[in-house]
Symmetry: C2
Subunit: 219 residues, 2 copies
DNA sequence: TAGATTGTTAATCGATTAACAATC
DNA sequence: TAGATTGTTAATCGATTAACAATC
């Protein structure tokens, strides 16, 4: 008897994480091209600007639909709008930052976020010396008010910029308040239920990996 | 005639990027275990703490040597020292930050870097209002002095925290001054010669990918 | 010795690259 | 039409997972 190989029914057709992480780069480059007044761009030119192969770009884009014109290229405005929609940037998410130390302040001032369509609507800290301050025109509020404010202002994304020791606690509060996504800068593993999406931004990885590569290069 | 398949001579045995990016996580977790007074740790327990499978961890570590004891586990002190050496953290690299805006200030204050063994030895900016200030006990100096200071203080790693428009220019200066590695926070593609190692830290990717995942989750 | 856990090889899975037909 | 460039399928490459022999 020959054992049948199990076949997954209705292939989930999941887009790769790598592809999704390249979309913001495409978006940014398209915006720059738009600013330069370029109407049509080829995968070749996009690739040149990004240091990514044209094949890779075509494959990434094709996994979401047919955005280009054969023999022509991609219409910049149209493609940018499509990529933006795929990323959900047109939804103008409301975001909050928890932990207004140096990093929190830096994040609160990022022009980049505004240009991607995110609205910074709340800042939280627990330090009485910080509460009440304004950072980039947004008032810092007591973390005790977090749950209420998250709900009132329909905040969907929370940024954790507190010390590692408090990160899990803050994450729990954010989850309890009903957030959809957490962007964690604390260098610690935090656990959230599968209904909440978690992205970790671990700054020590970048510097350590640089150290590794320099160490292992004979120059 | 049968075509012989070309065989790469002396397989380069290159360690995967994914593996290298996990090493800093192992290092950190081992340090925490050390602080807790734990002498021996298994791949199982390490994996539990990090959300990584034990098999993955054993494979990663085994690619650098045999650090464990079968039937026992890994000696925390010894493994931490070995991982630190692999990452080159024992070399105590001298680093400089270019661009002392909000992000530069935040990076200058990161305790994390100190704990990984990096020495912050210079800060640069071009704004006369910023030059002369002290951030975390380090004086901000004129970017015009960059080349001289990088050489005098034996700086090996440079952190770019300037606006996108100036990033390439700063990178060129850093390369010319003889740096070995660049950690780039500017949201733009910069080009460096292959002798200089470049790591990009693109903060808009994290937030955009969060937006993507929230958008494509039916809740 | 028996139980535990590593290190390593093989199998699977996923992502990139190459090739090219379709078509503007 | 001829040239250019996409979208898609196949081939390759790389990384993870599974399995298990080695051995503490």
């Amino acid at each position: 008897m020959k054992t049948e190989k199990t076949v997954k029914t209705a292939a989930p057709l999941k887009t790769s994480k790598a592809t999704i992480d390249r979309l913001p780069l495409y978006f940014r480059t398209l915006r720059l091209a738009q600013d330069e007044g370029i109407d049509i761009i080829s995968s070749e030119e996009l690739g040149r600007r990004l240091g990514i192969t044209p094949e890779q770009i075509r494959k990434d884009l094709a996994s979401f639909g047919q955005f280009g014109k054969k023999g022509v290229g991609y219409y910049v405005n149209e493609l940018k709008r499509n990529v933006g929609e795929i990323l959900g940037l047109n939804r103008h998410w409301n975001i909050a930052i928890v932990g207004i130390g140096h990093l929190g302040v830096a994040l609160a001032n990022f022009q980049n976020f505004v240009s991607l369509g995110f609205n910074l609507v709340a800042l939280f800290d627990q330090d009485p010396n910080v509460i009440g301050n304004r950072v980039n025109h947004v008032k810092v509020e007591d973390i005790k008010e977090l749950s209420r404010i998250v709900q009132e202002r329909h905040i969907q994304i929370g940024i954790i910029a507190v010390p590692a020791a408090f990160a899990q606690e803050v994450a729990d509060q954010l989850v309890a308040a009903g957030l959809k996504g957490i962007w964690n800068f604390a260098p610690v593993k935090i656990s959230v239920p599968p209904t909440t999406k978690l992205v970790n931004e671990d700054l020590s990885i970048g510097l350590s990996s640089l150290s590794y590569h320099i160490t292992h290069t004979d120059s």
